[in-house]
Symmetry: C3
Subunit: 463 residues, 3 copies
């Protein structure tokens, strides 16, 4: 059996070392502190007439940053521990690619968004590291579609290409089209989901059934996954408000997201119960579809969508997402381990549409003149843009996200099909034993009186 | 066997859908953003002469809000995963009723506390969503007494009635009596505990012993429960300070709670060890009684109780609460699964008494004139109230909380006894199989060579 | 078998009670609120010309405090749950000694750092409780070396002596030598690690092999440990920035730590994979060495080390730390359960060296005049100190930390060898059954039809 197992002993260390060294060199050439994190801050403060250190952007955004950081590492990481024997891979590889991706994102996003024209260098502060975490989220969503079927080396390659694709897509959507997408329904969720789904489609494994014994959850792994679910759910208001405007923008984004999430929980439970014999609930739905409201508020959270508008969005998304898990098989060829189509793709697209409609119907009577200008940033060369036009551009943004996800995923998918990446065989998917030293089970502890005999584990004969 | 199992396939979805739709309609009619989360904030800021966005209440309270949010969903949720086979129900139903309850609380508390007389609408901001989380906590405490013995439909009903009971009780205590109770020793813990205990008393199951095989913890479920314990314990300073006065009020409330909690840990370990053969510690005590100091500081945390006063409160509560778990059976009729009598009822009542005494003995020499007025809000029509009088009103507040808990619980208990809610049979309590699709155990994974055979799970013959 | 088991039924309660009562008395005599947490704050504000409550230090530091608090209780606690049958002891005793230690630290650090000369009392506020958590971290690191081999009473003694040793060491390093060490590479990590390692060396158990059946992880306990790892990893930026200067100091410390941690993840994965057959990763490395970058940035985080400098530090530490787990056995006599030598000692020393070099090479061209003075606090009697001199003092600080750790550990080690502390026998180490009531395993639940028969657990014959 072991002969079929992949060997990543050379490829994984090489990829990690070479890319990390590249990061160091590129950071050395390009990356410096911005005005608010540089020791010259006290001079800067005087120049800008800032009277207090509390006006440093750090204090506006650091609590949200830490919440987002938890979502990336514990939220996504533990959500992917639900498979009974792939918890190490779920949380561990998530950790690896997020740690690489955030460095690479600081560079790629920096070149597009934070380049100081004076010296050609990227100046980083708290907002950049939040954005880097956001950028990473796109790749982690893609990982969800591939969970258990790819090697860590493939995941590093997915991230290597995913981050620049994200950065370009984001540049076109936010800067060229001047679209608002603070929580990333388009930029993060739609892109990330279609990127992963397209790769999964290209990496189609017709004989994946050979691993079906492991493609399911266990009692405790389901509880572990709830840790991921809840930290994502609780901190989503921070995610959608982390880079919104200071003041009412952040405040409103948090409230809207809080409400939409609450609403999706109820419709998720309703549909889950309705669909099973005796009304038994399915943990897969509870772990995933309850989050759909947060995904769908990614664009409109900072708008004046109203509290009941947020509840309606969450209501619909809980239903759509749970139905996704129940009935939709977009294509038998897409083997979507975590169901990112249901959690990120559909709610992301819906969120983009909601955002476009909310933007198109914005008015000075609702926002006030100043509020409208601030919320949609109708300043400088966009001073003449109307809400209706903005709605059209928002819809265009969705198309860009879809295009980048699908085309980018196709290209990266073909790269990942090269037979050099050490992916598992069809009957070894969803199994931590392939890439990890797995301890014998606790259950196999010999009784205390036999401590001198050798430990005989349940899987000992296989090791 | 299955014939005895309840079927919630119609009732649970109907309740979730109808109530969520009702929320949407009521929010549509009543709920809007407040001045600080509305896009008119920049105009409001100018009017009020606020110079910086950082003065938006969001920045004073959002970090505490997120901590409270974690307590509600991960804290209470994981604390209730301790049963070996009811972890899904513990964390899952907690999730459901909290998500419903917070919406309902925004409405009910809004009608009583946040109604804008100008237009008859509820204006919500960060403080309202913290209060909604607080209100939900009352119902989650009640759930603790009923864990494993009720259906999700019953829990929704418990929440439907619990939230308005809470809102009225809170209105009487905080507004009519002008009592201070920032962390809710009375309003949240005393009310919630007696509400749940009274319901449990009415739902008494004489044959609950038939489920005793499942009414206990497992090694891993105890570790899961520690996640809940620790997040409650760590974030309790945020809970008690979340809606305290800006500045010294929040600062002092956090410090006092931090100290009281530390002190209860030591006395809990002491009593737990003292009570068992060879001094062996009991996880039930560690998971629960260590939190008693936080409960008991709910009223007095923002007062000048002094650091050593906080330590004394924690010291006593750790002892009382652990003794509760050891010896007190208030009545055999009260089947209190999580021991909320020991964790919330007794420390809550004690906290109210401590608060009353601390208030009654407050003086200008300790608080300063301004400090006394600010801390107890001796303004407007309460400008003439003395600390001694305040102490009396604090004690009266406790009576109101008790009365609402017991009378409300009795009424709701009788409603929940109606034979229509799909509660489990006496021999099916504490069992996730009743309401959840439970995966086969990890342990039953067939060896790798047999992947073509059908999976034979430990419980397969029952499914 | 049981005859060999220790009995802590008298000693543990006595220690907990007596020390907690001592804390109450000492707090009563010495500890009061500081100006920012006292009800006189509004008067203080006027005197100091502070215009807004948001300038209260609480709002600068509270979010970081809560993150640090999570690191202490969930981070350290769950990191120590990795042993298959010592999870209760890992997270439980961590809880106990941290709760005692933080009170004791407020006193000890208060006498050295926060004594008000006007009235001889310790005035505490948010910064003091962060520092108390830091002080506790030193003792928890030491616990890591001893995990599973000592009794809770020994751990309390270790803390009783560890806290004052820490406070004196910190006083010498930070105040006498005027060394900068905001995240504690020296003060916390070097001291704590050598304190624990020396104690472990003195408590050497030649026959520890008799417990080797339990000295390993299980599949689920490894996932629990990842909770600890990730919360430490995510919140380390808050740890290193929690007490840095307001404004750019905190901002820069967070960014530098974020980058160093990301970099260590990649080199940890690389070395771990390179070292095993077929490139299989080892959870021990992922759980620990990924954190080395945070340890090593403890001193230099607030300096202008540059973003690429931070990446280089993380790069090296990930390698060194993982190699530590692979090859270094400093001495067979040091039985270092968690490998604190690899995670805290080596990276801590390296961090001190990095800090000394970064300080020595600081210049006005990089920091600006004001920035240099603020960052290194070259004020008052230190106004004439140059960066080069500062570098020398930084190196001297490392020697002080090492000396206190080793000498202090030796003394405390000999105290802990007294045969009165109830430590486990050599064949009972790493076993929760010694100090905890351990539930029967979930696996031994009898089938539902047999609920009337007695439960027959896997280990029932031993109980």
């Amino acid at each position: 059996m072991l002969a079929k197992n992949p060997d990543v002993r050379i490829s994984l260390p090489v990829v990690c070392f070479v890319w990390q060294i590249a990061m160091i060199i590129l950071f050395g050439v390009f990356v410096r502190y911005d005005e608010e994190s540089d020791a010259h801050w006290s001079e800067h403060k005087r120049e800008k007439n800032i009277t207090s250190d509390i006006e440093n952007d750090f204090y506006y955004r650091y609590p949200s940053f830490q919440d987002v950081h938890v979502m990336i590492f514990v939220g996504f990481g533990f959500l992917m521990t639900f498979l009974k024997r792939y918890s190490f891979g779920g949380v561990g590889f998530n950790f690896l690619i997020a740690a690489f991706g955030l460095q690479w994102a600081l560079l790629m996003q920096g070149w597009f968004h934070a380049l100081d024209p004076a010296d050609g260098q990227i100046k980083i502060g708290i907002e950049n590291i939040i954005n880097a975490d956001f950028c990473v989220a796109g790749c982690l969503i893609a990982y969800g579609a591939l969970l258990g079927k790819v090697s860590p080396v493939q995941l590093m390659v997915l991230t290597l290409f995913g981050i620049p694709l994200f950065a370009v897509e984001e540049y076109i959507i936010l800067h060229v089209l001047h679209v608002r997408d603070a929580g990333g329904s388009m930029v993060i969720h739609t892109f990330g989901a279609y990127y992963g789904l397209t790769i999964s489609w290209i990496l189609y494994r017709p004989k994946l059934d050979q691993s079906k014994r492991l493609n399911g959850s266990g009692y405790h792994s389901d509880v572990f996954a709830m840790i991921g679910t809840l930290f994502l759910w609780m901190f989503w208001p921070s995610f959608n408000s982390a880079i919104s405007d200071h003041g009412d923008g952040q405040h409103r984004a948090a409230i809207n997201t809080y409400l939409a999430l609450a609403s999706s929980v109820l419709t998720t439970f309703a549909i889950s119960s309705l669909s099973a014999k005796r009304g038994k609930l399915d943990m897969v739905h509870i772990q995933n579809a309850t989050l759909a409201g947060g995904v769908a508020m990614g664009t409109a959270a900072e708008f004046m969508i109203t509290p009941y508008g947020s509840l309606i969005v969450g209501f619909c998304c809980g239903i759509i997402s749970t139905f996704g898990y129940l009935v939709i098989t977009v294509s038998r060829r897409i083997q979507d381990t975590c169901g990112v189509h249901n959690l990120h793709a559909m709610p992301g697209v819906l969120g983009a549409v909601v955002g476009a409609i909310t933007a198109a119907t914005a008015s000075e009577s609702v926002y006030g003149h100043e509020g409208l200008v601030n919320t949609f940033d109708f300043k400088g060369k966009y001073a003449e843009r109307t809400p209706a036009t903005q709605g059209g551009f928002q819809a265009a943004g969705l198309c860009v996200a879809l295009a980048f996800g699908i085309v980018g995923g196709a290209i990266v998918g073909f790269i990942l099909r090269l037979p050099v990446w050490g992916d598992p065989s069809d009957d070894n998917c969803f199994d931590d034993e392939v890439y990890w030293e797995v301890p014998e089970d606790e259950e196999s502890i010999p009784p205390i009186l036999e401590y001198n005999s050798h430990m005989v584990g349940k899987y000992a004969d296989r090791m």
